[in-house]
C-alpha cells in the first residue's frame, strides 16, 4: 500500500496499539482484559504495520519468528501451570506472593503465577495470529 497518509499514520497507530495491548494484558484478572485480548490487539498492531510497510519489514520489527513466539508462549503458560507443583497444589492453582502485606486489601502489589500464565497466552495469541496473517500476506 503506497498511501503516504496511511504509512505516516501507521507509525502512530502501531505504537498506540502495542502500548494498549500491554495495558490490556496487565489490566486483566480483576477487570476486563487479559492475555487473549491483549495478544489480539498486539497482533492488530503488527498487521497494520505490515500493511503499511510490507510483511518483511513487520517480520524484522518482530525480531523473532511468530511460530517460535507462540511456542515460547505455550511453554511459559505451561510453566505457570506447573508452578503449583512445588507448593503441593493441583495444576494451574494460582500462586500468590503479596508484597508489603498478606492479602489483596493490604498488599501494595503481588507477584503471581496468574500473570505469568496471561503473558504466555498473550504470546501464543500474538504468535498464532501473526503467523497466519504473514502467511496470507506473502501468498497474495
Amino acid at each position: 500500500m503506497n498511501s503516504i497518509i496511511f504509512s505516516a499514520g501507521a507509525r502512530l497507530l502501531v505504537a498506540l496499539l502495542l502500548v494498549f495491548s500491554l495495558f490490556m494484558l496487565l489490566r486483566g484478572h480483576n477487570l476486563p482484559g487479559g492475555g487473549f485480548i491483549g495478544g489480539l490487539i498486539g497482533a492488530v498492531g503488527f498487521i497494520v504495520y505490515s500493511l503499511a510497510c510490507g510483511p518483511a519489514e513487520a517480520k524484522s520489527a518482530l525480531r523473532i519468528s511468530p511460530e517460535v513466539l507462540g511456542m515460547v508462549g505455550l511453554g511459559i503458560a505451561l510453566l505457570a501451570g506447573l508452578a503449583s507443583l512445588p507448593f503441593g497444589d493441583p495444576l494451574f492453582t494460582g500462586q500468590w506472593y503479596w508484597v508489603g502485606g498478606d492479602s489483596y486489601e493490604t498488599a501494595a502489589f503481588s507477584i503471581n503465577s496468574v500473570l505469568v500464565f496471561d503473558i504466555g497466552v498473550y504470546l501464543v495469541v500474538l504468535g498464532g495470529i501473526l503467523s497466519l496473517a504473514f502467511a496470507f500476506e506473502e501468498e497474495t
Binding site: E67, V68, M71, V72, L74, G75, L78, G81, L82, L85, D89, P90, L91, F92, T93, G94
Partner: protein, 499 residues
Amino acid sequence: MSWLLVFPIAVPFVTAVLAYLVRMSFWGRWVSLAGSVVTLIAAIALTVAVLREGVVAAQMSNWDAPFGITLVADYLGVVMVLITAITGLATAIYALGEIEVRLEKLGYHALFQTLIAGVSGAFLTGDLFNLYVWFEVMLIASFGLLVLGGSRAQLDAGLKYVALNLVSTLVFLSGIGLLYGLTGTLNMADLAGAVAEVENQGLVTVIAMMFMFGFGVKAAIFPLFFWLPASYHTPSFAVSAVFAGLLTKVGVYALMRMFTLVFVGDVGFTHEILIWVSAATMLTGVLGAAAQTDFRKILSFHIISQIGYMTLGLALYTPLALMGGVFYLVHHIIVKANLFLVSGVANKLAGHTDLNRIGGLYKSSPVLAALFIVPAFSLAGFPPLSGFWAKYLIVKAAIEIDAWFIAFIALLVGLLTIFSMTKIWGMAFWKPHPDGIDPTPDRVPTRIRLPMMIPIVGLAAMTVVIGFFPEPFVVFAEIAALQLLDPEAYVTTVLGERP
C-alpha cells in the same frame, strides 16, 4: 495424587514445546523420543494408582467439582491413556527411521506430541466442555500432521478431513450448549444425576442423538465415515499409524462414556439405534475394503468395520458386551497401528502401497511377513491371538441376549476380514514383484530399517501375549465394564461424598 493425572497430558505438551524449539537440529527427534518414554512412565504410574484405588480424580486449580475442571481416571480411562502412551512411544521410535529431515524442520515432532497430549486429555477429562477443547487440540494437531509436506493428495485429504470433523465438532458443541441450558452443569459426574431429574426427557434424547452424531463422525460409524478412507492413506506412515490406532477410538471412548454415564434414560431407543448402526458399520467397512487394492486403503476400511464391533459392545449394553467392547478397543489399537507400521516397511522395501504394483515381500523379508501375519490374523479373529478373544466376547454377548442376527453379522464380518487380509498377503507377500525387482532388505539402510522394525516387533509381541494370556486383560476389562454400568464410584470420587 492429583499430579499423576496431570503428567500424561503435561509431559507431551512440554515435549512439544521443546521439540519445536530445537526442530532445526537433530535433537528434535530425540527430545520427542525421550518425551514419549516419560509419558509412558507417567501413564504406568497412573495405572498403578487406579489399580489400587479404583477411580482417581483431581480438581484443577483447586476449584471443586462441578465448577472447576475435573480430571478423572477409571479403569477404562486409564487403560486408554496407557495404550496411547504405548502407541506414542512405538511411533516415536518408528519416526526415527521414517520421518525425513524436511518434515522435522516443519515441526513434525511438536505436532505429534501435541496430538498425544490431546488424546490423553480427552481420555482423562471429566468435563464435557473440556472434552470439546481436547477434540479441538486433536483436530488442529492431526490436521497439521495430515498436510505436513503439502503434496496435492495430502491437501485434498486434509480438506475432507477437516470439513467433516468441523461439522461433527459443531454439532457436539451445540449439544453441549443445549445440555447446559437444560441442566446447568457440564461436569460428567454431575450430569449423571442432573439429566435424570430433567422433566422433558424427550429433549434429553434429542441431545443424546446430537452427541451420537458428533462422536459418530469422530469414530467413523455408518453412515458418517466418509472422511476416514479419504484421508488416512495420504500422510506419512507413522502419522497414519497413530491416526488409525488412536483418533477414531477417542470417538468410541466418548460414546462409551456418555452413553453409560449420562444418556441412559432411554436405552431402548438410543442403544437400539446404535445396534443397527454398528451392524451397518461392520458390513460397509468390510465390503468397502474388499473393493480396494491399496494397502493402506484396505486397512482404513477395516478400521471402520472394527469400530462397529466396539460400538456394538456398547449398544448391547450388558456387562459381557461392554467388557468385550473395552477389550476390543485395546486390542484394536495395538493391532491396527501395527498393521499401518508394517505397510510403511512394505512401502520402503517394495516401493509402493498399491498392491498391484508390489510383490515378492515374503521371499525378500520373511521376518516382515511373519510380523504381518500376527496382527492381520489377530484382526480377523484367529485363535489364539488377541482378536479372537475380543470377537468371542462380543459374539457371546450377542448370543446371550438372543440377538442371533447381530451375532451372525459379527461372524460374517470376521470371515470377510480374512478375505481382505489374505488378499494383502497374496498380492504383497506371495506373488512376484510385477517389475521383477527383488525387494531385498538391503535396499533400505539399517539406520532406517531398525527403528522401523523395533516397534512392529514390540506391538506384535503384545498381541501374542494378550492372545496367550488373556486372563488378566479380561479381568481388567470386566472391572472396567462394571464401573461403566454402575458409575457410583466414578460419581462419588469426582463430586466427593454427598451428605
